[in-house]
């Protein structure tokens, strides 16, 4: 009664083949990540030390540490966040909670998607034109951060909008029926339940911002600076650009040093990403409805 027919066996074989094939593809996917990380750790780890992290480069960058670059990246990310997070969240709240569905809103949404697709080098040129020249910020932390902010704005907007829209409509309606205004509803019911999702988006933005090179190259990041920046109108060194410089621009570079820089950079990004994953898991565990 339950004998396998020829068709059954054929289907079974086919299913095994597909399972194997799809599994192999997935394995292939992990391979580069593992290779990159293991190479970086193998070659970069010996370089890492307290001194490496907290002193400046010496001897034409072929020795010493990366502190100015590390500090610069942190500064760039912070200023970029200060600019983009309030703006992005405000825009997302408007789009999700206030805007009615018409051609104008659809155009804005399209613009946001397109903004996400603009190559970073184009953002860099825009940054030069707008912030460095037009607003006369010069090549500075401010100009570079604002360029980064504009580039990562879509990340914040989309993440915020999604987490706002994950809050069930019934909650809003219950609130409106009580005589709450739209803003009271957002403030008391919608935002508190979306905040973890928004935070995840912000952290993703941090890791994206920290790694970018092109947008800051012409707008505020310097090849080498003997002094730390004193304010947002100064130039700064940055990890990503420093990595580019030590890997390609300086003759006589010790082999391990660029790997050390790369390891620090990728550790920062991975740390941020794992933070966002942890946050998401926490959020799922605390799902309130």
């Amino acid at each position: 009664m339950f004998e396998a027919t020829r068709l059954n066996r054929k289907n079974e074989t086919r299913q095994k083949l597909f399972r194997l094939g799809l599994g192999a593809m997935t394995g292939l996917l992990i391979l580069p990540v593992v290779l990159i990380l293991s190479t970086l750790i193998y070659k970069g780890a010996p370089v890492i030390s307290f001194e490496f992290l907290f002193t400046g480069p010496t001897k034409g960058m072929t020795a010493g540490g990366i502190f100015p670059a590390l500090l610069g990246t942190v500064l760039l990310v912070m200023v970029a966040l200060i600019a983009s997070v309030p703006l992005g969240i405000a825009a997302a709240i408007y789009l999700s909670e206030y805007a009615s569905d018409n051609w104008f809103t659809r155009a804005i949404n399209l613009a946001i998607i397109n903004l996400a697709g603009v190559p970073s080098i184009v953002h860099a040129l825009f940054g030069v034109g707008a912030f460095v020249i037009f607003f006369k910020f010069g090549t500075s932390i401010l100009a570079a951060s604002l360029t980064l902010a504009i580039m990562t704005l879509p990340v914040v907007i989309v993440a915020t909008r999604e987490s706002l829209q994950a809050v069930p409509m019934a909650f809003r309606e219950a609130c409106w029926n009580m005589g709450a205004t739209r803003w009271q509803t957002i403030r008391r019911v919608v935002l508190p339940n979306a905040v973890t999702g928004i935070l995840t988006g912000v952290i993703l933005e941090v890791s994206r911002t920290a790694g970018e090179t092109a947008p800051i190259m012409f707008t505020g990041a310097a090849f080498f600076l003997p002094l730390l920046p004193q304010g947002v109108f100064d130039q700064t060194m940055a990890l990503s650009l420093h990595l580019f410089v030590v890997s390609t621009q300086v003759p006589g570079m010790p082999e391990n040093l660029p790997f050390g820089v790369a390891l620090v950079l990728i550790s920062m990004v991975l740390l941020m990403n794992s933070l966002s994953i942890a946050l998401r898991m926490y959020l799922r565990g605390k799902k309130k409805w």
Binding site: E173, C175, N177, M178, G179, K288, W289
Partner: protein, 250 residues
């Protein structure tokens, strides 16, 4: 005294008429039942009373709804209107706030900040909604984590916290067990001395148990309005009402 007067009400979504030909007056302290099958326009009616058409660009309301002798379409402060009208939905909506905050939300929206006052309001409303004894030891736990029946009583407590003059219940027993349904019905009977109640229900017998008068909506028409008992004893004007009440369709 007429609490809510409705004349020539017509509700459309886009080009489609959802409800028309509604004419009746609801008296103060009356339980007014609205029965009818799905898609009869019952929920649309409630939305129109509460001016929720504001949130739905497709929804158009013509005709007149008069609440406390004021035409609701002319009320500028719709928030004030909605605060006087409590609404309970078919599916219980416990907001993802603590039990306490769920009930305190409306007074807080109205500007009440005094903790002692809020405590009094929360206890009173939960007691009147027959929920206090079950939740008094866990006012801090999430309202959205209560059982369905408890959540529905929580939403009633929340509606009562508005100190409403009119309470509108939209098929409140749809997701609630029979025991809880009977408890809520008892609550409603007690409330009648203080508030006017519109009871939309898909249970014909529930209307019979509670409502003084009942309207029968069918396919976007108000077919008949009458003293509830008359609808059940055959004193109807329209054959369709009799058929529906006696369970021949719907």
């Amino acid at each position: 005294m007429v609490k809510l007067g409705v004349s020539d009400l017509r509700i459309r979504y886009g080009g489609v008429t959802a409800l028309e030909g509604v004419n009746f007056d609801i008296q103060e302290h009356e339980i007014f039942g609205i029965i009818g099958p799905a898609n009869a326009g019952k929920t649309s009616f409630l939305k129109a009373v509460n001016r929720m058409d504001m949130f739905d660009p497709a929804m158009k309301v013509d005709g007149k709804i008069v609440f406390n002798n004021v035409d609701v379409s002319r009320i500028r402060n719709v928030y004030g209107l909605r605060r006087r009208i409590g609404v309970v939905f078919p599916l219980p909506v416990g907001l993802p706030l603590s039990v306490y905050d769920n009930v305190a939300l409306s007074p807080r929206l109205g500007g009440q900040k005094n903790k002692a006052e809020l405590d009094v309001i929360v206890e009173r409303c939960l007691t009147r909604a027959a929920l206090w004894d079950e939740v008094k030891d866990r006012l801090d736990s999430l309202g959205s984590m209560l059982s369905g029946g408890q959540q529905q009583r929580l939403t009633i407590a929340r509606a009562l916290s508005q100190d409403p003059e009119l309470l509108m219940l939209d098929e409140f027993s749809i997701a609630v067990d029979p025991v809880t349904t009977m408890r809520i019905e008892d609550v409603l009977k007690e409330l009648r001395s203080e508030v006017t109640i519109i009871l939309v229900t898909n249970l014909v017998q529930q209307a019979r148990r509670l409502a003084d008068r009942t309207a029968f909506f069918l396919e976007g028409q108000c077919v008949e309005v009458g003293v509830t008992e008359d609808l059940f004893t055959g004193e109807v004007q329209d054959q369709r009402t009799r058929d529906y009440v006696e369970g021949r369709f719907g």
